[in-house]
């Protein structure tokens, strides 16, 4: 079993649209696009963009199981026990405790959950309370099992939730001998991305040929290299800025990174999204679907041969 994570650095380069198309192609061997990949690729899908999870919008999943996600804990001050000494507010490094008219309260959004105040309160007036921060789901999508989550807005610990949904996806994949775990990652390079990258055999970077897209592609590639995960690149919206495409290719050539796909800009991608479908299912013969099909074949070859490893 192999694990591929799809990343970008910059948001909105097309990670989810590409993941959805690959999910469709994996389930159909690329047949609707007139191509056949040798043998089937039984795939478990994981949406690791837990605070803006969009994969479900184009895969129409049927939720089989819903679980609560305990994000962490927050401090709560019991007013009857509080002696208003102010030690907690003074020691808190996250400015989460304040007093109004002598009454000390904790701002649950600012609270980091470090429990320093719990241990330091001389009156024993502070308790740490577990907080539900979201939910995660095991679903059956049109194209196979999907593990996804909804982190509630303004919650912390997205990295922990990413690790959790990935783990669940891997467990099912191992139990039922799936070939691939395909992980739709979050934007950026911080905590949830690090959680999404860990354990991957290959990272696919969806890069946009724009000044910002190239800048962020370089940062996410530095991140995958830092964690010793091999990477390949797929360029999206190629006709937007041809000089940018050339720049990405030159960069990849210098770093020895294979470019496995070049996808043209096409409003049919948005139309497919509005219809709640991957573009390869919505318009299998469109140039972008053909390009996605070719990229899918090369991606499978790369992860199988360890070409990029």
């Amino acid at each position: 079993m192999k694990q591929i994570v799809i990343l970008s650095g910059k948001g909105g380069t097309g990670k989810t649209s590409v993941t959805a198309a690959f999910a469709h192609l994996a389930a159909t061997n690329g047949e609707p696009c007139g191509m056949s990949v040798d043998g089937s690729t039984r795939t478990v899908l994981v949406d690791a963009d837990v605070d803006a999870s969009n994969l479900e919008l184009v895969l129409s999943p049927q939720v089989l199981e819903t679980h609560a996600f305990q994000g962490g804990q927050v401090a709560v001050i019991e007013p009857a026990l509080c002696e208003e000494c102010g030690v907690c507010a003074e020691l808190c490094r996250f400015d989460a405790i304040s007093a109004q008219g002598g009454i000390y309260t904790v701002d649950p959004i600012a609270c980091e959950g470090c429990a320093l105040c719990f241990f330091q309160c001389p009156a024993g007036a502070i308790q740490m309370e577990e907080q539900q921060a979201g939910e995660w789901f095991h679903s059956q999508s049109r194209y196979g099992p999907l593990f996804h989550a909804a982190l509630w807005p303004a919650q912390e610990n997205s990295g922990k939730l990413v690790t959790l949904v990935k783990q669940q996806g891997r467990l099912l994949a191992m139990d039922e001998a799936f070939d691939l775990v395909l992980v739709d990652g979050p934007p950026g390079i911080g905590c949830p991305v690090i959680s999404a990258v860990s354990g991957a055999d290959l990272a696919l970077i969806v890069a946009e040929p724009t000044a910002a897209g190239i800048h962020d592609m370089e940062r996410v590639l530095a991140t995958t290299a830092h964690f010793h995960v091999a990477a390949v690149v797929c360029i999206n919206k190629t006709d937007l800025y041809p000089e940018g495409v050339a720049e990405i290719k030159a960069y990849c050539a210098r770093k020895g990174l294979p470019v496995i796909g070049e996808l043209p800009f096409d409003t049919v991608v948005t139309e497919a999204m509005v219809q709640g479908q991957p573009v390869t299912a919505y318009r299998p013969n469109s140039p972008i679907s053909q390009a996605l099909c070719a990229a899918w074949g090369r991606l499978l070859a790369a992860v199988e041969d360890g070409e990029a490893l």
């Binding site: 970008s8 650095g9 910059k10 948001g11 909105g12 380069t13 989810t16 605070d51 803006a52 969009n54 919008l57 962490g72 020691l91 490094r93 996250f94 959004i109 600012a110 980091e112 470090c114 429990a115 320093l116 241990f119 330091q120 982190l151 807005p153 303004a154 919650q155 912390e156 997205s158 990295g159 979050p186 934007p187 950026g188 390079i189 911080g190 905590c191 949830p192 991305v193 690090i194 946009e208 040929p209 724009t210 000044a211 910002a212 897209g213 800048h215 962020d216 940062r219 996410v220 530095a222 991140t223 830092h226 964690f227 937007l240 800025y241 940018g244 409003t267 948005t270 999204m273 509005v274």
Partner: protein
């Protein structure tokens, strides 16, 4: 006046809107002082590409992590007990510290009965600042590769530079709806949510609007690439009572210019006026009298 530009979904045009808003206010500063721009997307900062700052000031951001004085340590394990992130472990007669798990709360330092723990800064990124185009003061944070925690950098960036009371501060947030976005929104007078009229845009707009609501900050919406997709975003804004303060149509010429790193107001100069109108809409929304400055 502090305005945080956020979105939920990535790639909707946050930086495009934030930079052109700053540039439009710098042309004709509405309130005397030229704007301060803070790029709070420390994982993928891009605003410098459009504002051309010369980054003259630089400061390392470190998180205070524990250092154990083995001469004083009795290996009692209290530090490991109080740490909520397992960043300290005591194994036999050895104390292991994992800086990347540490949140810098200082709990272990205070809990150590032998006073054997001191704290040293572990570098996780930098903040940089300098003058940018048209008299804008620019600052940004940059997270080091491989470091997980963006929030301490944003926190430090926000309190780094002095602001004048009448200065407009524009904060460009990262995508998403978790801690880095919360930190970028906190204390803002208004959150400007940039979205696109697609199912993905709508889904994430709802979540981002909820974050602003939890923080009790008024919201204004900018619809970018107006004309693609469907009417979902419009319908939602109407139902939720979120004012749409600006619409930017889908325009190949704009998209190509942005790709090159050209600010929107240079691609289409008529937008200077439109962004100034957007600012007027923001002031109105915040309930601040334009010349009086008093909160209604």
């Amino acid at each position: 006046m502090k305005i945080t530009v956020a979105s939920g979904k990535g790639g909707t045009g946050k930086t495009t809107v934030a930079t052109s808003l700053a540039l439009s206010l710098a042309v004709e500063p509405a309130d005397g002082a030229r704007p301060l721009f803070l790029d709070c997307d420390v994982e993928a900062p891009n605003a410098h590409l459009f504002l051309d700052p010369s980054l003259e000031q630089r400061q390392e951001v470190g998180l205070l992590v524990p250092r154990v004085d083995e001469a004083k340590c009795t290996y009692c394990g209290r530090c490991a007990e109080v740490c909520q992130w397992h960043a300290v472990a005591v194994v036999g007669e050895k104390v292991l510290v994992f800086p990347q798990l540490c949140h810098g709360c200082g709990s272990c330092t205070l809990a150590c009965p032998e006073e054997a723990i001191s704290e040293i800064p572990n570098p996780i990124g930098v903040i940089e600042a300098g003058p940018a185009r048209d008299g804008i003061t620019f600052a940004r944070g940059v997270l080091n590769i491989g470091e997980p925690m963006a929030v301490p950098i944003i926190r430090q960036l926000k309190k780094w530079l002095p602001t004048q009371p009448d200065q407009t501060v524009i904060l460009d947030a990262s995508p998403g709806t978790t801690c880095p976005v919360v930190e970028s929104m906190r204390d803002a007078d208004l959150v400007l949510l940039v979205t696109e009229p697609t199912p993905f845009g709508l889904h994430d707009l709802r979540l981002a609007a909820q974050v602003a609501q939890e923080l009790d900050i008024p919201v204004g919406v900018v619809i970018n690439r107006d004309g693609v997709g469907d009417s979902g975003v419009d319908d939602y804004c109407r139902e939720a009572g979120l004012p749409i303060l600006m619409r930017i149509p889908l325009d190949q010429h704009i998209a190509e210019g942005i790709a090159r790193g050209t600010p929107l107001i240079d691609i289409r100069p008529a937008y200077v006026r439109r962004f100034q109108d957007l600012y007027a809409g923001i002031l109105e929304r915040v309930g601040v009298a334009r010349n009086g400055g008093s909160t209604v």
